[in-house]
């Protein structure tokens, strides 16, 4: 056994949604995102912990149902498990779902690596009055250590770590049970061939079984001529034999199986009802956003009063210190107005994320895939493609990554193309600001309508791409629906805090720098510092482009500056606007200063601007993620051009319609 100076590697492997990440967080103190739907984790993550003078490097992996490789997550996990560096595999098993989870366990056991089973969710088992025979279970599973834990309640963690350390050198027998005589005969022949060709192979039995299953990757990695033995794929027989054995284990080890029927079916009777399912979803989303805007705006009001006061205090202080006029301008109208302005949107953002966290943690997310499947299949996508779209309400970057759960590269790209139209939280400040300035008591409704418009355009785009597509995909929706559970306060806190931290970091870095850059771009011209931004470099350039936006009612150079700056992060549209028009030094409100320059700028223009911001090129981080996930520069550029064109078309449309009524 090799010694690792910096610790030994332990991989957490298990079915989707069995609590690997929760357990990982509980042990390492990490704050990775957890939620109650299958497929939250899409990348492997590392963390370390010290225990009994040993350093352990824990690796959290995406959940998998089997060690075959049909989706990207499965490939990530399988490669991780097969990696020689991994010394112990911790098989995380959802005890409340033992039967299905043990299927993966049997495959892991065949690898012959040291395995420890973490039997998670024991609290759920107890609550339901089920019982597991913890003596018989390991007997039937090669005598691996089985540690009952509860990741949420942080029970059994030390025992688990102890077991990991003490079993790292244990060799697990590669044979859990016997297949039929015919299969065993073939397996032993293959093992002989493998052993001859790869003498130092650690998991010959597993590889032989995979060869019998006609597994592409294994036959590519270990090219041996076995056509005489593997005359066809024995995959179905092998899977059935495993499940046969699992049934035997369940019969002997699990008691009071269905003594208490879960509440889940009762809730599902309403939420996944054939007729009421879709209206329920729409009502839930409407509630989320109305709460975000009404309650959020109310709290925001107080922060604004504080900000104004703070601007005044700092302004006076700088005057008192005899600071140069330009420095005072930079600090009060540049930095405080820009960054501080962004911070006043925090209440809206926090409420939105609390609501999304509750949706994700309750178990409703998977149901959304089912409920929306009817509509999505008319657009040639499975209901599963709707999950990235819902995540897009939070942030487009993880939403684009979540498309990994989709089966085909084509479906992934189509979903990546429409996901940025789902209005992310960074665009929220734009709606709140402009609808607040121009629509008074209808502000919440106007903001909400942006979300509806975003969804409609996303669906329309999917519809059109489906029309253009000649090879129609089949509707292969396949997703597990977890039990509903009461949202866990800790998970929600972690989720919301992560998002708030991201937002604050962004305010402190990207937005902060962008505000300063925008301020300088507006205050320096060909002749050095300028008196009026109109004479600045930015203004010269922007004035050149502005006429293009005339059909949208946005032919103002300030808007052009804001939109360009907004590509760094969408909130920057707001900061640029405040920096451009903020005139706190002269005690003018934002609305007054905008209308002092553009007397005709009214509701229709504001609406058009919001629509443009909703639809145009997403932020740099999203563009980079689309590039990474699609692995195509051509597709990324196409997506960007498509989004700008859509933004232009729809904001022109909205502007010209709105002008008739406002």
């Amino acid at each position: 056994m090799r010694e690792h100076a910096n610790g030994f590697h332990v991989a957490f492997v298990g079915n989707p949604n069995c609590g690997k990440t929760t357990l990982f967080n509980a042990i390492t103190g990490s704050k990775l995102k957890v939620a109650n739907w299958p497929g939250v984790t899409v990348e492997k993550k590392e963390g370390t912990v010290e225990f009994e003078n040993e350093k352990l490097i824990l690796i959290d992996t995406p959940g998998i149902y089997s060690l075959s490789t049909y989706t990207i997550e499965e490939k990530v996990t399988r490669n991780c498990v097969l990696d020689d560096d991994i010394e112990v595999i911790v098989n995380v098993v959802d005890a409340s779902n033992l039967e299905r989870n043990l299927y993966l366990t049997l495959q892991l056991l065949e690898l012959g690596k040291p395995i420890v089973m973490a039997l998670n969710m024991m609290d759920v088992i107890e609550e339901r009055g089920m019982e597991i025979d913890l003596h018989r279970l390991p007997e039937m599973l090669c005598d691996i250590p089985i540690v009952p834990v509860s990741a949420i309640k942080k029970r059994g963690l030390d025992i688990l770590l102890h077991a990991i350390i003490h079993h790292k050198e244990a060799v697990t027998l590669g044979q859990v049970f016997s297949y039929s005589e015919e299969l065993e005969d073939k397996i032993s022949k293959l093992e002989v061939i493998m052993a001859a060709k790869y003498p130092n192979h650690s998991s010959a039995r597993w590889h032989s079984i995979k060869l019998l299953e006609d597994d592409e990757e294994v036959s590519e990695e270990h090219p041996v001529d076995v056509s005489r033995i593997v005359d066809r794929s024995y995959s179905r027989q092998i899977i059935q034999a495993k499940y046969g054995y699992v049934e035997e284990v369940i019969r002997e080890c699990l008691f009071n199986k269905s003594s208490k029927e879960a509440r889940t079916d009762k809730i599902d009777a309403v939420l996944t009802h054939p007729l009421f399912g879709v209206p329920c979803f729409l009502i839930i989303m409407a509630l989320v956003f109305l709460l975000t805007f009404t309650l959020g705006d109310w709290i925001k009001g107080f922060l604004e009063i504080f900000l104004e006061w703070f601007q005044g205090v700092v302004g006076n202080l700088l005057t008192f210190l005899n600071a140069a006029e330009w420095l005072k301008g930079l600090i009060v109208d540049g930095i405080i107005a820009g960054v501080g302005g962004i911070l006043t949107f925090l209440p809206n953002i926090i409420i939105l994320f609390i609501a999304l966290a509750i949706l994700e943690d309750s178990g409703y997310m998977s149901r959304v895939a089912y409920v929306m499947d009817g509509i999505m299949s008319k657009l040639g996508l499975s209901g599963k493609a709707f999950l990235p779209m819902v995540l897009g309400f939070g942030c487009t970057v993880p939403a684009v990554m979540a498309t990994r759960a989709l089966e085909t590269p084509k479906d992934r790209r189509r979903t990546m193309l429409v996901t940025p139209f789902m209005s992310c939280s960074a665009r929220l400040p734009i709606y709140v600001l402009f609808s607040g300035l121009f629509f008074g008591k209808f502000a919440a409704l106007v903001s909400f309508s942006m979300y509806v418009l975003g969804i409609l355009i996303a669906l329309l785009t999917a519809f059109i791409t489906n029309l253009l597509d000649r090879e129609k995909g089949k509707n292969n929706l396949l997703i597990e629906l977890p039990e509903y559970k009461r949202p866990n306060l800790r998970s929600i806190r972690v989720y919301v805090w992560n998002k708030v931290k991201d937002y604050l970091t962004k305010a402190g870095t990207t937005i902060f720098i962008a505000s300063i850059v925008v301020w300088f771009a507006l205050n320096i011209g060909p002749k050095g510092f300028v008196n009026e931004p109109v004479e600045s470099f930015a203004a010269y350039l922007a004035r050149f482009i502005a006429p293009v936006l005339k059909p949208c009612g946005l032919n103002m150079w300030e808007v052009v500056v804001a939109l360009f700056a907004g590509v760094s992060a969408k909130e920057v549209v707001v900061t640029s606007f405040t920096v451009l028009f903020s005139d706190a030094v002269n005690n003018m409100s934002l609305l007054e200063s905008i209308q002092a320059v553009y007397p005709s700028f009214g509701g229709a223009n504001a609406l058009s601007l919001m629509v443009f911001c909703l639809l145009y090129t997403p932020c740099l981080a999203t563009i980079a993620t689309i590039k990474k996930e699609s692995e195509s520069l051509k597709f990324t550029i196409f997506a960007m051009i498509f989004q700008v064109a859509t933004a232009f078309a729809f904001s022109a449309l909205v502007y010209n319609i709105a002008r008739l009524y406002i």
């Binding site: 299927y103 179905r236 599902d268 509707n475 292969n476």
Partner: protein, 77 residues
């Protein structure tokens, strides 16, 4: 034998045959939908998607899948 999509809701059936492309049927088998596995449909939409209960787990399945799994009614003895 009928397709899963035609079953009566909340009645127990057993899986007889999976008539799907290799990659999908392997996935279903890995999830525990095998020959002889008991299966109960919980709800069904007009679009053909269904929620079924199998081996203690609920799965949402799309039309293409539900119409290509054959099942047999369990006759109470």
């Amino acid at each position: 034998m009928i397709s899963l999509w035609e079953v009566e809701i909340k009645k127990e059936y057993t899986v007889e045959r999976i008539l799907l492309e290799n990659n999908i049927s392997r996935r279903l088998e890995a999830l525990g939908i095998n020959e002889g596995t008991p299966i109960v449909a919980l709800t069904r939409k007009r679009s053909g998607a269904m929620i079924v209960k199998i081996r203690g787990t609920r799965l949402a399945l799309g039309r293409h899948i539900t119409s290509n799994i054959e099942v047999k009614e369990v006759i109470a003895v």
